[in-house]
């Protein structure tokens, strides 16, 4: 019925991937204590392409032992050395960018053009960013009076736990690992069970750059490996990216241990197109159309997916006609083909969940303007997890407007006034991302200020440069990644309050 636009290129060659990968603990490859491995299925074709170690509490304890052994020395390693090692990691990744991009595509299912142009370059830059900022980092000193000086000095928290999502496996791992190491912490990382392989290939490349035990990676299932890590009384902090229920569970564990957490949770980000967007059919209008279609980036598997289009009713027809045409032109196909624009959803259960939302959307009376179904691809992709990019028209109380579908599905509605646009934008549990598109100088400042979200893209969307703080308002979490302020999420403050007065107080 629906005609899909298909990729025409042949997939590039697959790099060598080992049959199975062990844990990386204390600078060594360590077999899982259970002796068991689990299948890693590629979303491209639904086939097993490698196995990952099935970690459990004993493996987590081993990793925590190694991290604690490394911490006294790593925390005192000079920033010059820490910075040099982070830069070296970046260099090695850069030398292996193409191979890592292909493996990331096989592991996650996203198109190669994205892993090549976004995931891996951002990984490299992120290590360099934290290598750079710690060289210029300073503590503070204040003179309270002529005899009293207060020094506020940063000290690393210790051994931290970091739980990584599967949507950008290497990039999200880097967002956590780079600031933790830069701050002087040692870490135990638990990758997502859908994407446990690319990070292990990365560890093969960079594992010997750092002292043993500074960076440990244990693969496994949430309940078997993630839970003992998040609930351990030997971690000084837990950093988590994922959904709200698990976020609450991790905070519950952290409350038992009285340790801090940072949470990057979900979103249902509004992308607002003001009336002035259509004042001219020019480059800016074209950019805004692309900005609306960015819901399909990474197959919609982004916490900030602009999954609600709010468009002024006067420009709805002219704008959406272009958006629908551009969406229909998205080339689907083998994720390793160089011209594929949108690849596979990361796992079968995600695929099924997205289909269940397409169903509820139709039941609630939303109109599918394009897509609305799975995409049946052939040539070996029959068992992969492909969904057509879908645009629904409806209203903001519908479940498809309120729940994070985490797929290439956007819901569009109209507004009459700026106040109504802001009200719709804020009528959500979440506050992670938002977009505002306008040619009006006043709106460009006032509307973003009125939106309750941690990141508002203004006349752009889906850019994630290092040094732009990223994190949520409301139920989208707290803590700011991707910025030097993340260093303070991995440090505590040592205050030395010093008296230079030889005279006694005179109280006793």
């Amino acid at each position: 019925m629906t005609t899909l636009t298909l990729s025409e290129a042949k997939p590039v060659e697959r790099p060598h991937i080992k049959e199975k990968y062990d844990h990386f603990i204390g600078g060594k490859w360590v077999a899982p204590s259970s002796g068991e491995y689990f299948d890693n299925i590629s979303p491209i074709d639904g086939k097993v392409f490698s196995k990952a170690a099935r970690g459990n509490k004993a493996d987590i304890e081993k990793a925590l032992d190694a991290a604690h052994a490394a911490f006294p020395s790593w925390s005192k390693t000079s920033v010059a050395v820490r910075s040099k090692l982070l830069n070296k990691i970046a260099d090695v990744i850069e030398e292996n960018l193409e191979m890592l991009a292909r493996i990331e595509t096989i592991d996650n299912g996203k198109a190669l053009r994205e892993t090549r142009a976004a995931d891996l370059p951002l990984v490299i830059d992120h290590f360099r960013y934290f290598a750079g900022v710690i060289r210029a980092d300073e503590s503070t000193i204040s003179e309270h009076d002529e005899h009293t000086v207060s020094i506020a000095l940063h000290e690393p928290l210790g051994v931290v736990a970091q739980i990584i999502p599967w949507n950008f496996p290497l990039l999200m791992a880097t967002w956590k690992i780079a600031p933790a190491l830069a701050a002087g912490c040692c870490t135990v990382v638990k990758p997502a069970e859908q994407t446990p392989t690319s990070i292990m290939v990365l560890m093969e490349l960079i594992g010997d750059i750092l002292p043993p035990g500074v960076l440990n990676v244990v693969t496994g299932f949430g309940v078997e490996a993630g839970k003992p890590l998040a609930s351990s009384n030997r971690v000084a902090k837990v950093s988590f990216t994922g959904e709200t229920t698990t976020g609450r569970l991790i905070m519950q564990y952290a409350s038992e241990n009285l340790v801090p957490v940072t949470m990057e949770l979900g979103g249902k980000s509004p992308n607002i197109f003001m009336k002035s967007v259509a004042d001219a059919d020019d480059d800016f209008f074209d950019k805004a159309v692309e900005g609306a279609v960015l819901f399909a980036l990474n197959q919609g598997e982004v916490c900030t997916c602009p999954s609600r289009i709010l468009v002024h009713e006067d420009i709805y027809d002219v704008f959406m006609e272009r958006v629908i045409a551009r969406t229909k032109a998205i080339k689907m196909g083998h994720p390793l083909a160089e011209d594929t624009m949108m690849g596979a959803q990361a796992s079968n259960d995600q695929f099924e969940k997205i289909l269940s939302y397409l169903d509820i959307g139709k039941q609630e009376g939303a109109e599918a303007l394009c897509g609305g179904d799975k995409a049946s691809l052939n040539s070996g992709l029959e068992n992969g997890y492909y969904i057509q990019p879908t645009i629904f028209k409806g209203h903001n109380k519908m479940r498809i407007f309120q729940e994070e579908i985490f797929g290439p599905v956007v819901s569009v509605t109209t507004f009459k006034t700026t106040e109504e646009a802001i009200a719709i934008a804020n009528d959500t549990m979440y506050g992670l991302g938002a977009g505002l598109w306008s040619r009006d100088a006043h709106e460009l400042y006032q509307v973003p200020r009125a939106i309750l979200a941690g990141r508002v893209w203004v006349n752009c969307y889906h850019a994630y440069p290092a040094h732009a703080p990223f994190g949520g308002y409301k139920k989208s979490g707290f803590g700011r990644e991707n910025h030097l302020m993340m260093l303070n999420h991995y440090r505590q403050t040592k205050n030395m309050l010093i008296s230079y007065d030889k005279k006694k107080l005179g109280f006793f």
């Binding site: 689990f38 299948d39 299925i41 099935r54 999502p165 599967w166 949507n167 997502a192 069970e193 859908q194 299932f221 949430g222 309940v223 078997e224 993630g226 839970k227 990216t241 994922g242 959904e243 709200t244 229920t245 698990t246 609450r248 569970l249 519950q252 990057e264 949770l265 979900g266 979103g267 249902k268 598997e301 916490c303 796992s347 079968n348 259960d349 995600q350 695929f351 099924e352 969940k353 269940s356 939302y357 169903d359 509820i360 039941q363 609630e364 109380k397 479940r399 309120q402 729940e403 994070e404 579908i405 985490f406 549990m429 979440y430 139920k475 989208s476």
Partner: protein, 135 residues
């Protein structure tokens, strides 16, 4: 004609019942569900050993499904309350701490809109705190 009252908000498929039975046996305990919100594995039902996930005044108890308490956060319930949920299961590699995941399967919610008549005759919800006090 008498009108049906106390209609359930959450149903369960036979396949999901089998999984609940298996997990009950394996963990030797009753189970509970909490419907998650957004992000990677979000908008999915999470299965825990009963009591492992702490619910409170801002959680809504939507009833028991096959003997398991089913909860959702109150603000999320506002947007879900007009839909009947069916707990199902699908093959797949989910992440999160939901306890069925090592079996290579994932609980999943399928939804249907209640009719107006059904909507007026649903079981009463309670808060998580009220459920804890009763137990």
């Amino acid at each position: 004609m008498t009108q049906a009252t106390n209609l359930p908000r959450v149903l369960i498929t036979e396949a999901a019942m089998d999984v609940v039975d298996t997990l009950r046996k394996r963990f030797g305990t009753d189970l509970m569900f909490h419907q998650s919100g957004g992000c990677c594995d979000g908008s999915s039902p999470m299965c825990f050993e009963k009591g492992d996930f702490k619910v409170g005044t801002n959680d809504i108890w939507m009833g028991k499904v096959y003997g398991c308490d089913f909860f959702m956060s109150a603000d999320q319930f506002e947007y879900w309350k007009h839909t009947e949920l069916t707990l199902d299961v699908t093959p797949g590699r989910g992440s999160s701490f939901s306890i069925e995941i090592p079996m290579g399967i994932r609980f999943l919610i399928r939804s249907r809109l209640f009719t107006m008549e059904e909507f007026e005759n649903l079981i009463l919800t309670k808060t998580g705190e009220e459920v804890l006090e009763e137990n």
